[in-house]
């Protein structure tokens, strides 16, 4: 605690004596969960302050207390030296505290313009100025360099674009204090660059920025100071320049990680899956091959058609042309069940929307694909059911209170493990991972990578979709680049650190 204050004084000495925002003993409980334990933090005017920590460390909770989403259970908050309640979003916005939250919280049915001005509409004589708002919104978007149509219905945008809308919205509200909670998780490189440029401009204008991310390179690229949270407790606050990645990780998880991108070399076996000129909604003419022990990586921009391609392989959407071969034999996959029964597993892009029955038990989620096997006669064998669930909870090391705990009670990384775990019992041989590490902390990422290795060693093949290029480099044996629904280039043994190759891949993906 002393350290914080000293730190604060040191960096604050330049401008003013009173910090912009000061937290003292901030505390938050959700029922039995103690999410934040007496956190003290100081945010200086005009700085970019990073907050890092594992999944469930309490980062988002801290933000939600500052923006009035949740009401704190204890402690005090001082805004320019004066104590404030921050009991409602309205109040927070009033001080100029705005946030771009981790999950996109906008109204999907409304237009981009309507979302930008929500709660702050332009009215004349009590009437909405529809056209003026669209015009104004377009101007704002153009000015910050986001290429988004202000009149578009929000749900027609990609998640990344929606995140940008949320960003634009937060920045236009006379903001003095702006919080980004994992803003780049769903952004393409292009969009990330736009965002960083914006953050630079905001800093120049004197806006104080809090930046939360699991991508440590971003922390070093952008921020002035960095605070670490662990288990809801404050660990340290340092000048970013005075620390390094290793130290941060140690602070976050109290141990060092030698190799973040974990990959063992495993010899390739026989071919598992091959597609020949496969076409469907959103992709065309895609031919790929996966062998036992092999990871193929699919890289591309959001909307490149990678998800559509794998979902078609999985039978979610019908293919319109081409052929799928399973272990050399042509197969017809018309629905998910066909894919599952031959041994294909899909870990979908969105855990919340596609992967989990959140309010149901961990065990039910794990067993969902294999209930047929757990059934004796008409009735489920309760012992087999429990055993199957427990085995996966153990094998994949899911941290859960019990197999009956609702999936929603687990932290993001552990939820991801459920989605993976349910296919292990089933005995799938081809695993399709669509953005498996979005929003996952470094420690859990390593766990997931280790899991990849286990799968490969057991003779499975993996298709990995990721928009996070370092991940694809390190993990994929073969890298395919998608652009506008077509496979435009393939690279063998992609885990090379050659800069030239990176550039090539990027160029291919963007179609420059």
């Amino acid at each position: 605690m002393d350290q914080v204050q000293q730190d604060g004084k040191r960096s604050g000495a330049a401008d003013s004596v009173v910090p912009l925002l000061e937290l003292k003993g901030l505390d938050k409980r959700f029922g039995a969960t103690h999410a934040l334990k007496s956190v003290d933090l100081i945010f200086e005017a005009g700085e970019i302050h990073a907050i890092v920590g594992e999944n469930g460390a309490g980062k988002s909770t801290l933000i939600k207390l500052l923006t009035g989403v949740h009401v704190r259970s204890g402690g005090e908050v001082y805004w320019e030296g004066k104590p404030v309640a921050l009991a409602t979003p309205h109040e927070a916005i009033g001080y100029g505290i705005n946030a771009v939250h981790q999950e996109v919280v906008l109204c999907p049915h409304l237009t981009v313009a309507a979302n930008l001005f929500l709660g702050d509409e332009k009215v004349r004589l009590g009437l909405l100025q529809h056209r003026e708002m669209v015009r104004e919104a377009q101007k704002i978007l153009d000015e910050i360099g986001f290429k988004i149509a202000a009149g578009a219905i929000l749900s027609s945008l990609t998640i990344g674009q929606q995140q940008l809308v949320a960003t634009a919205r937060a920045t236009t509200r006379g903001t003095r204090f702006l919080i980004f909670d994992e803003p780049t998780a769903y952004l393409t490189r292009q969009e990330t660059a736009q965002l960083f440029a914006l953050i630079g401009r905001l800093k120049a204008k004197g806006v104080t920025i809090v930046y939360i991310s699991h991508r440590l390179e971003e922390v070093f690229q952008l921020t002035d100071r960095v605070s670490i949270l662990r288990d809801g407790q404050w660990v340290s606050t340092q000048r970013t320049a005075e620390t390094n990645e290793e130290k941060l990780i140690t602070g976050m998880i109290a141990r060092s990680i030698e190799q973040i991108h974990y990959k063992e070399t495993i010899p390739f076996g026989a071919e598992i899956l091959r597609t020949e000129r496969l076409s469907g909604k959103g992709f065309e003419d895609v031919s790929v091959r996966v062998r036992a022990g092999e990871v193929i990586g699919l890289y591309g921009l959001v909307g490149a058609g990678r998800s559509e391609f794998v979902q078609s392989v999985f039978g979610r959407f019908p293919k319109t042309g081409g052929q799928i071969f399973w272990k050399g034999q042509p197969v017809e996959i018309r629905r998910e069940k066909d894919a599952i029964s031959i041994g294909i597993a899909l870990v979908p892009e969105s855990r919340r929307d596609q992967g989990l029955c959140l309010n149901l038990g961990v065990g039910l989620n794990i067993n969902l694909p294999i209930y047929k096997r757990l059934t004796k006669g008409f009735v489920i064998d309760p012992r087999a059911e429990a055993a199957a669930a427990d085995r996966q909870i153990r094998d994949v090391q899911i941290k859960t209170a019990s197999r009956d705990a609702p999936a929603s009670s687990l932290s993001g990384g552990n939820q991801q493990k459920i989605v993976v775990g349910k296919w292990l019992n089933h005995g799938a041989q081809l695993f399709i991972f669509d953005e498996p590490t979005v929003g996952v902390d470094v420690g859990t990422k390593v766990e997931i990578y280790k899991l990849f290795a286990t799968l490969l060693k057991n003779g499975a093949g993996i298709i990995l979709i990721s928009s996070y290029l370092p991940e694809v480099y390190d993990l994929a044996d073969t890298l395919h680049v998608f652009r506008r629904g077509r496979l435009i280039a393939s690279h063998d043994s992609a885990h090379t650190k050659e800069k030239a190759l990176h550039e090539a891949i990027l160029t291919e993906a963007l179609g420059v």
Partner: protein, 330 residues
């Protein structure tokens, strides 16, 4: 730079798609207008009496009450809620105003008190839903049950005759040839249109239906907006209760049974989505007049009353199906 220009190109396509979407939205209501017009043309040719001044003004009078009810219901449905109590509120209000009038209250005072009672019911709904956390379906189902009971208890099951002829005469009168009852639709719909489509409160209702959390984080007082929506629905229902009392000249707690379902059906036929965030003012009006036309036409064509039910059921499926298709095409 060249990357950006390429991306820009792809964005242009998207922009065009959005414009088209907006056009389809207009098309939807046009399709309903077309459907209504088609029904009217067919009826004009197949009956001698449909296209007479008398019948058209009957039609306008008959559709008026469900139209207002559907309009009020729409506010609630846009927030992804539902109000099952409106029929009961209509019956209850008819009792209240009849009681007040027979006890010598002046018409204006009686109307104000009745509307205030509607307001109170709406507030109670919103209280139950937002403070007690009850699902709207259950909250309004409970008041539906209870309100009918209270109305019956007050009157001891009897009907209260309204002897005030000024009051009852109103429902039969007209103004520049258009029935007063239809004017009441206009009187409700115009401010409703401004409220829903032109004011920030309307915008907030859509926002809540779309994503309550997002609305809340934008500083919208979502609780207050829920109060507003349920109050408006109950107010419209109380107003319809007054109109009903004027039209039938009595107050009776069992009246308007099942009108809630008709109101919801009208609203959905008019393009309102029961999942929230989709709806308009003109939609429910069109929907209710489509249903009214079915009944009116069936009467004129001397179609068996039982067939009317079957036709209504089938038409609801057909219309909502095509509406859904159109939305999906977006």
């Amino acid at each position: 730079m060249s990357v950006e220009s390429k991306i820009e190109m792809s964005e242009a396509v998207q922009l065009a798609a959005t414009k088209q979407r907006a056009r389809i939205g207009t098309l939807l209501s046009l399709t309903l207008v077309a459907l209504l017009a088609l029904m009217w043309v067919v009826l004009a040719f197949s009956t001698t009496s449909f296209w007479t001044y008398n019948n058209i003004s009957n039609l306008l009078r008959q559709g008026a009450m469900i139209a207002i009810l559907a309009l009020g219901e729409t506010f609630v449905v846009i927030t992804a809620g539902i109000d099952l109590s409106v029929g009961a509120v209509v019956g209850f209000s008819s009792v209240i105003i009849a009681l007040l009038l027979t006890n010598g209250f002046p018409i204006s005072v009686a109307i104000i008190i009745t509307l205030a009672m509607g307001l109170a019911i709406g507030l109670f709904h919103a209280f139950g839903i937002s403070r007690l956390g009850l699902p709207p379906f259950i909250m309004t189902l409970a008041t539906l049950t209870a309100l009918r009971g209270v109305g019956l208890l007050i009157t001891n099951g009897a009907t209260i005759s309204i002897t005030n002829d000024t009051f009852t005469g109103f429902s039969r009168g007209d103004f520049i040839g258009v029935p007063n009852l239809f004017w009441m639709v206009v009187v409700v719909a115009v401010p409703a249109y401004i409220f829903l489509h032109q004011s920030r409160f309307g915008r907030y209702l859509f926002a809540i239906g779309s994503n309550t959390e997002a609305a809340r984080l934008s500083g919208v007082n979502t609780t207050r907006m829920l109060y507003l929506a349920y109050t408006l629905s109950a107010l419209c229902a109380a107003f319809v209760g007054i109109l009903l009392a004027a039209r039938i000249g009595i107050g009776n707690a069992t009246q308007a049974e099942g009108w809630e379902l008709q109101a919801i059906a009208s609203s959905v036929i008019g393009g309102t989505s029961l999942f929230g965030a989709v709806g308009s003012v003109h939609g429910p009006l069109l929907g209710s007049f489509i249903l009214t036309t079915i009944n009116n036409g069936a009467n004129l064509l001397n179609v068996n009353a039982f067939w009317q039910r079957i036709i209504t059921g089938v038409l609801i499926i057909v219309i909502v199906y095509f509406d859904g298709l159109r939305r999906k095409k977006r």
